[in-house]
């Protein structure tokens, strides 16, 4: 990445976001490891894992925002890329168990032993190497997105049609991964992990490092997204979002742009999934459920579609609420609240939290320092998304 891209991507809000995530990434592990248990600022380990999960969700939200907020592609199957990344990581972690599985088989994972598999299926080869697994985390979701996108965008499947077939895609994968014959542990998925790169996955230190890595991944993903949306390519994406056929008449190969950004987004989702798995401790087909993908879209809508900070914020806010409301007396009402949130956000807050905030904050700011008004109008690289598709 050349320096001019970096400087262009980092306006004040972006810098602040990066700083905050970095601070979170460093401070939470530090307080967990260094501060005494009783301290007011001590963050218990389970919260480290929990926040680690939120951070992974934030990366997923960013990846969705990149295609939906900036390019108008509403994927209702992004959970599939997340889950595929997760499975790639899960397969590495399974192979790391080695002979410590309950059956003590050095090669075969437990679920294969008790279903009488006699040898490792070919697609499990190589996953004992971290580098290979890491490559697959990017490659598998990326390749699927590329093939899917190449077919869909070339034949100009757009709008709700695209949404529905992405849903069909994740649904087909859901059914497939449920099948035990696929060799991914069926409904139970992959679990009971021991080590990652030789460190115990459950140790506090490992959790803290994983958390830090997730924050770094979030920052990296954010910077990549910023670099993309603030480049001229970002302007083209918005042009595609707002008037696809107009963009085509200007001589842009719209399908290539969509394919590029869709594949990039899928890779990011894959990384999010890969970081998610060791922190949560399980990956199974329910991650492919269409409902999960739709829920991830609503995080973006809540935070503010077309504002990267908003997407990340939305993921954290909604999941924080989920954690909060699924305990205690309000537990039976959680689905009511989630459902109501979907409805209210689309009806009353179509720009999301950050988008709405921007829309009343910026005129104010513009008035205060009017000479600077022009640059302020584009705080996050774009104006308010045009919601009429």
């Amino acid at each position: 990445m050349t320096p001019h891209i970096l400087t262009r991507s980092l306006d004040r809000a972006a810098t602040a976001f990066v700083l905050i995530v970095a601070a979170v990434g460093v401070l939470i592990p530090l307080s967990n490891l260094l501060l005494p248990q009783g301290s007011m600022f001590h963050v218990p380990t389970y919260l480290v894992a929990l926040w680690g999960k939120y951070v992974c969700y934030a990366i997923l939200a960013l990846s969705i925002d990149l295609i939906w907020g900036y390019c108008g592609i509403l994927s209702l199957g992004h959970g599939a890329f997340f889950a595929l990344g997760g499975y790639a990581m899960g397969m590495y972690l399974m192979r790391q168990i080695g002979s410590r599985g309950v059956y003590g088989n050095p090669i075969l994972p437990d679920f294969m032993v008790f279903l009488n598999w006699d040898k490792l299926p070919w697609y499990w080869y190589g996953f004992d190497k971290f580098a290979f697994a890491a490559l697959m985390v990017l490659l598998v979701p990326g390749l699927l997105a590329f093939c899917f996108g190449w077919l869909a965008f070339r034949s100009r499947v757009t709008g709700v049609y695209l949404s529905i077939i992405t849903q069909a895609m994740t649904y087909a994968l859901l059914l497939g991964f449920f099948r035990n014959d696929f060799g991914f542990g069926g409904n139970n998925g992959l679990t009971d992990f021991k080590d990652i790169l030789g460190f115990n996955v459950q140790a506090e230190g490992t959790r803290c490092v994983l958390f830090l890595l997730s924050c770094l991944a979030l920052v990296t993903a954010f910077l990549i997204c910023r670099a993309v949306v603030t480049s001229k390519l970002g302007k083209v994406l918005i042009a595609v979002r707002d008037a696809e056929s107009r963009t085509r008449f200007l001589g842009y190969r719209v399908e290539s742009y969509k394919l590029f950004v869709f594949t990039l987004s899928a890779c990011m989702a894959g990384v999010a999934g890969a970081l998610y798995v060791p922190q949560v401790g399980i990956i199974n087909p329910s991650e492919f459920a269409p409902g999960n993908s739709i829920e991830a879209v609503i995080w973006v809508a809540v935070g503010g579609r077309g504002t990267l900070v908003g997407a990340a914020l939305g993921a954290v806010v909604v999941n924080y609420a989920k954690t909060f409301f699924t305990s205690g007396p309000l537990a039976p009402y959680w689905l009511f609240m989630l459902g109501a949130l979907f409805i209210l956000v689309t009806l009353l807050l179509p720009k999301g939290i950050v988008g709405t905030f921007n829309s009343w904050w910026e005129p104010l700011k513009a008035r205060r320092n009017s000479p600077d008004a022009d640059s302020a109008a584009r705080e996050d690289g774009v104006g308010a998304p045009n919601l009429a598709e």
Partner: protein, 555 residues
């Protein structure tokens, strides 16, 4: 005391005593019983053999009940047939203390089974005589023998079929007698088949008789015949050869029929898909609204059926067979009303923003599901099949169940009515006008917002009707709708949005494709294959099978 009793005392059946001494009593009873049995064997004519046999029903031992059935059936007593029919229907009860057995007649009167004398009421301790599967088969066989000569043709037919299955050797004379007397052609045929079955299993039947029998069974040609022939066991070589050739001819015949069967199943599945999708074809196809809560409208329809049946069950049990007829309009109104409500409060603010509509209605579906879960509980609710929707009939060698057949007819009727409505009514005309050119329609004085609300209500109402039908074949639970939503979208997108005929063709194509894939690939892979094919198909024809063409579409 009870804890101290060893578990072995539990004996091989469950304990029916209600007091703490149940186990002890049980053992005591078993002891008495064995003494009683011994004495019966020793002095058979002590209290009359028929009474003794009947009394065995009171022992609550499956083996005794089995013996009793055999003895009663063989007794030739006039009460035998009523006793065994009562046993089959669970109307035979026994008092374990007095060892008396009673028949509760279909008109509610109670008689002593052994004597036929009327009794005022059942003793408090009396309980229905229990059966297990083995005994049920014994009962059927016994009843078959007893009703072969019944004046009721339906009973004779059933008896003949039951004899065909049991091929009880000692019934041969009765069957032959009945065959000679029978005048109804179809029953005569059944008797001939029953006779053939007996002959085939009779060890001392002549080869030529057996060969004739093989021919009769071969002519029957169904799975029962196949089961009979493959289960023959040792036979003279000539017969075995004839049987083998009959088996292969029946098998090849059945294989051909299985294609027909797949096609029928495909049509049936297609009709379910169509029914679920047809409402969506209106809201999505005509209005362009992505209603993810469509499945929940189906669910509401199913719950309406449940409520209607509950009310009927408690208040007007006689109307049960009409419950669905009552539920259909009600479900339409309930789901339609909620649909209008949704359109007025949510969707109308989101026109032109299909993706937002998708999210809002998804949220709505969560709310509706949880609301139903709160109101009706999370468990499945029982919706019964009216008598005219239960059971099946045979068409050639395939079984056609009445509920599937009715659903197919119902679906086509709904489709036809909908088409007619769109074509011939004022609302239909207005709907088409608004779909084609909203601004123009508005300027011509059509209240577009009213048409929107009614269109959405219509789509939802039809989903509600679909719920009534689906309650007959699926769970009535809060999750009912979810399982149909993705399939419904696939049907509409595959068939082509905005075209009801496309939806029809799409639904039946997917249904039939699925049913022909299922035997080859299995249910799971079949479903995956269908999804992948749809994804690929959409690439080829982004707007479905029957896409509208022209400039207007792209606006």
């Amino acid at each position: 005391m009870e804890k101290a009793a060893p578990l072995a005392a539990f004996s091989s059946h469950s304990c029916r005593g209600t007091d703490v001494f149940a186990n002890c009593l049980d053992r005591f009873r078993a002891l008495c019983l064995s003494i009683l049995l011994l004495s019966c064997l020793a002095v058979p004519a002590l209290a009359g053999p028929f009474e003794d046999s009947v009394a065995k029903f009171a022992n609550d031992e499956f083996s005794d009940t089995e013996a009793a059935i055999g003895e009663v059936a063989a007794s030739g007593n006039a009460l035998a047939s009523p006793i065994i029919s009562a046993l089959q229907d669970g109307r035979l009860s026994a008092d374990p203390d007095s060892k008396k057995v009673f028949i509760t007649q279909t008109d509610g009167k109670i008689v002593d089974a052994a004597t036929g004398a009327a009794v005022d009421k059942l003793p408090d301790a009396a309980a229905a005589v229990r059966l297990n599967n083995r005994l049920r088969r014994t009962v059927e066989a016994a009843l078959g023998g007893l009703t072969l000569l019944s004046p009721d043709p339906a009973k004779r037919l059933a008896a003949a079929q039951s004899v065909f299955k049991s091929h009880e050797e000692n019934l041969l004379p009765t069957v032959e007698g009945a065959l000679a007397k029978e005048s109804v052609k179809s029953i005569k045929q059944a008797f001939a088949e029953a006779r053939a079955a007996i002959v085939l299993f009779k060890s001392d039947a002549s080869d030529s008789d057996k060969l004739d029998a093989v021919a009769v069974v071969k002519a029957r040609g169904d799975q029962e015949a196949l089961a009979l022939l493959t289960g023959l066991g040792d036979q003279p070589p000539l017969v075995a050869k004839a049987a083998a050739s009959a088996v292969s001819s029946i098998q090849s015949n059945l294989a051909m029929w299985s294609m027909v069967q797949n096609a029928w199943y495909g049509l049936s599945l297609g009709s379910v898909l169509l029914l679920a999708a047809i409402g969506l074809a209106i809201t999505f196809g005509v209005m362009g609204v992505i209603n993810m809560a469509h499945g929940e409208m189906v669910m509401l329809g199913a719950y309406t059926t449940f409520v209607v049946q509950e009310v009927i069950r408690t208040r007007y049990p006689a109307l049960f067979d009409y419950s669905l007829l009552i539920a259909v309009p009600l479900a339409f109104l309930v789901a339609g009303f909620i649909g209008v409500l949704i359109e007025r409060t949510i969707i109308r603010f989101l026109y032109g923003r299909p993706l937002e509509t998708l999210l809002a209605t998804w949220g709505l579906s969560l709310v509706l599901q949880q609301a139903v879960r709160t109101a009706f509980g999370p468990t499945n609710r029982e919706v019964g099949n009216p008598s005219w929707m239960s059971g099946a009939f045979e068409l050639g060698q395939i079984t056609i169940t009445y509920n599937r057949l009715w659903i197919l007819c119902f679906t086509l009727a709904v489709f036809a009515i909908l088409l007619a409505m769109l074509r011939y009514t004022a609302l239909g005309l207005e709907m088409r006008a608004v779909t084609q050119n909203r601004r123009m329609a508005a300027s011509m004085g059509i209240a577009t917002s009213r048409v929107d609300a009614l269109t959405f209500g219509l789509g939802s109402g039809i989903a509600g009707i679909a719920g009534v039908a689906l309650s007959q074949i699926d769970n009535v639970s809060p999750n009912l709708g979810q399982s149909y939503i993705i399939d419904s979208f696939m049907v509409v997108v595959f068939g082509g949005v905005g075209n009801l005929w496309g939806t029809l063709v799409g639904a039946f194509t997917l249904g039939i494709a699925n049913k022909f894939l299922e035997p080859v690939a299995g249910a799971v892979l079949g479903k995956i294959a269908i999804l992948v094919l749809i994804i690929l198909f959409i690439q080829k024809r982004p707007r479905g099978l029957f896409a509208l063409k022209g400039r207007a579409v792209e606006a």
